[in-house]
């Protein structure tokens, strides 16, 4: 796999302007990421549908649509259901973590998280997401072949 890595679009949804700035500044330093930000759930949802990002980092406590609702909405839409989703939140209780993962997020990270840690988590989520998609595509290819055999 020596081919040049694809540039990944990361959509960060957080209502805190300082953190949006940190991620726009920091993440591109740590990987081949292009960072787009949204300041609330609604904007996040529209941007997600438009941009089809490689991965999303989502805060929970936001005005309008909260993080959990946003995750559910993205997972509910076949166009966006495959996108790896990372919840990044100040809600550190176990029950919140449970709700977050149950709503369909791939990872649940508790603030504060260093940009280097976050970039590793993003890379991991993207890798797992791609592997999952490849496996599904493989299964789709194999199926008609098996049918022909019979």
């Amino acid at each position: 796999m020596e081919a040049a890595p694809k540039r990944h679009t990361i959509l960060v949804v957080d209502d805190n302007p300082d953190l949006r700035k940190l991620m726009s500044l920091g993440l591109p330093d740590l990987g081949d990421f292009e960072v787009i930000t949204a300041e609330d759930g609604i904007e996040g949802l529209t941007q997600c549908a438009e941009l089809q990002p490689s991965c999303m980092v989502i805060d929970v406590m936001m005005p309008g649509l909260d993080g959990y609702q946003l995750v559910r909405a993205i997972r509910g839409d076949p166009q966006t259901a495959h996108i790896p989703l990372i919840i990044l939140t100040a809600k550190v209780q176990e029950k919140d973590q449970y709700i977050g993962l149950a709503s369909g997020a791939d990872q649940y990270l508790c603030k504060p998280v260093l940009p280097s840690e976050l970039s590793r988590a993003i890379a991991k989520a993207i890798t797992i997401g791609e592997a999952e998609r490849n496996r599904k595509q493989l299964a789709l290819v194999e199926e008609p072949f098996e049918d022909n055999q019979r």
């Binding site: 300082d18 330093d29 997020a105 508790c110 603030k111 260093l114």
Partner: protein, 497 residues
């Protein structure tokens, strides 16, 4: 690939979470019985007793009087008819009492019960006298029913109910004694009077003790509720501080993390930018810590105050002086005050000042320089509707002072209105603007108002120019030294600080 240390990967055991877990919120603690519950239980006990007593009385009177009527049928037709009618009317009253008890009308039900027994007893006594002439023994036997009725009244009603029942019983005993028309009538009446007086005395003592117990229970309950509320607020505070600290800490650590990348250190411009951002995040953190300490200090003091009459106008004047000129440009702003001089609230002067400082300073902060700010205070009757145990609506009315602070600024979107009284709540548009604030002012106003047994809310359409109106209602107090003799005179004045 090793995962982030403070990250919780999907599917990991919860114990591996590196993040500290704050104590759980108290909101969903086990429900504790309240004084309202105690009173409802008391009412339920009474209603159950009323149902049983009424049923027993109805049955007993019915059987007894119809029995008497049957036995008299051949000897005295008129008397038999009287007893038969009584044997139907009195139980009917008691049956009505059962129905009233089911409708939760305890006092009316008790009245029906007492009336049924008294009617049956009294009428039976008169009937016996008219038939048998002077039958002292039988009449004396009947007199024992009167104190019994008083005891029943004591178990089921308050002191007034006991006294009224006793008075009626006494009058009836007197009439019976007169009807007996013997040389012993006076003695018989005194005998009945003594019995009834003793029963009344005992039952009034009982009811008084019961009332005191219930009242003490109410005080204990109120105190308990207050402490639980304060405890809940503290818990909430810790949780929100925990949340709010995480963002600036993450920003600061994040920039330092980026500074460790050799690429970033080589680029002088980039280095300066990151250092600058890290520094700014640190400053934010310091400001947040300071404001948290400030609220903490305020929070600690709020529960310890002795309620006293506080003049609203004086408090407002003091509050205006306390507005921080660094935050709000007060000079040249028009604040229209319409507060009668004789309005007093029951509470703490410093608390009221803080509330007014916050509200007026907010009104000035979030409206344009040319718009005025109105401050009004009026006496209102506050009607609160509560749902009782059986879905019955009860309303409590009390006189309160309503303080209104109105600005003509941008307004607040109605959806965001309730959020604003939470800690660290700020509107997105304010976060982006240059207006200084930490999202604690309105939270403090709410806590201070609630501690003084008041309420606070806001009305706004969110339409720019229509502004926002804040309402604070606090318990009213009589002016110290006067007996509220002066009629409220409204005065309008314009203050330009």
């Amino acid at each position: 690939m090793d995962d982030a240390p403070s990250a919780v990967p999907a599917g990991a055991a919860p114990a591996s979470s590196a993040a500290p877990v704050p104590p759980p919120a108290t909101a969903d603690a086990t429900p504790t019985p309240t004084f309202a519950d105690a009173r409802a239980l008391d009412l339920r006990r009474k209603l159950a007793l009323l149902t049983i007593f009424n049923a027993v009385a109805a049955g007993f009177i019915f059987v007894l009087l119809l029995g008497v009527a049957l036995s008299l049928m051949h000897s005295n037709g008129n008397l038999a008819l009287t007893f038969a009618v009584l044997g139907v009317v009195a139980p009917a009253l008691a049956t009505l009492g059962i129905w009233l008890a089911r409708k939760e009308r305890a006092t009316l039900s008790a009245t029906a019960l007492v009336a049924a027994i008294l009617l049956a007893t009294f009428a039976a006594q008169l009937a016996v006298i008219s038939v048998a002439g002077i039958d002292t023994a039988q009449t004396l036997l009947f007199f024992a029913v009167y104190p019994l009725v008083i005891v029943i009244a004591g178990v089921l009603g308050d002191r007034r109910f006991i006294v009224i029942t006793a008075a009626v019983a006494l009058v009836l005993s007197f009439v019976v004694a007169l009807a007996l028309n013997t040389p012993y009538s006076g003695g018989i009446f005194i005998y009945a009077l003594l019995q009834e007086a003793i029963a009344t005395g005992v039952m009034v003592l009982f009811a008084t003790g019961y009332r005191i117990t219930l009242r003490d229970l109410a005080h204990t309950q109120q105190e308990y509720d207050r402490l639980v509320r304060i405890d809940g607020l503290k818990e909430q505070f810790i949780t929100s501080v925990n949340h709010e600290l995480r963002n600036p800490v993450m920003a600061m650590l994040g920039y330092i993390d980026l500074l460790q990348l050799p690429r970033n250190r080589a680029d002088a411009e980039r280095l300066a930018l990151l250092v600058d951002e890290a520094n700014r995040a640190g400053q934010d953190l310091r400001a947040l810590l300071n404001s948290i300490l400030e609220t903490r200090r305020m929070d600690q003091g709020i529960e310890d105050f002795v309620p006293q009459p506080v003049n609203v106008r004086d408090a407002l004047a003091a509050a205006m002086r306390l507005i921080d000129p660094r935050e709000v440009q007060v000079a040249g702003r028009e604040v229209r005050v319409r507060v009668p001089p004789n309005l007093y609230i029951m509470g703490d002067p410093v608390h009221l000042q803080q509330i007014l400082t916050n509200l007026v300073s907010n009104a000035l902060k979030y409206s344009s320089k040319d718009d005025p700010v109105d401050v009004l205070a009026v006496r209102v009757i506050d009607i609160e509707e509560q749902e009782g145990r059986w879905g019955r609506k009860t309303t409590t009315e009390r006189e309160m002072i309503e303080i209104i602070v109105r600005d003509y600024g941008l307004g607040i979107p109605p959806a965001d209105a309730p959020l604003l009284f939470q800690r660290f709540a700020r509107l997105p548009r304010d976060l982006a603007s240059k207006v200084i604030g930490n999202g604690l002012g309105l939270y403090l106003c709410r806590v201070l108002t609630e501690v003084m047994d008041g309420k606070i809310w806001l009305e706004s359409t969110g339409i720019p120019g229509k502004g926002t109106t804040f309402y604070v209602r606090l318990p009213t107090a009589a002016a110290p030294g006067t007996l509220n003799a002066t009629p409220s005179e409204e005065s309008v004045e314009s203050v330009t600080p």
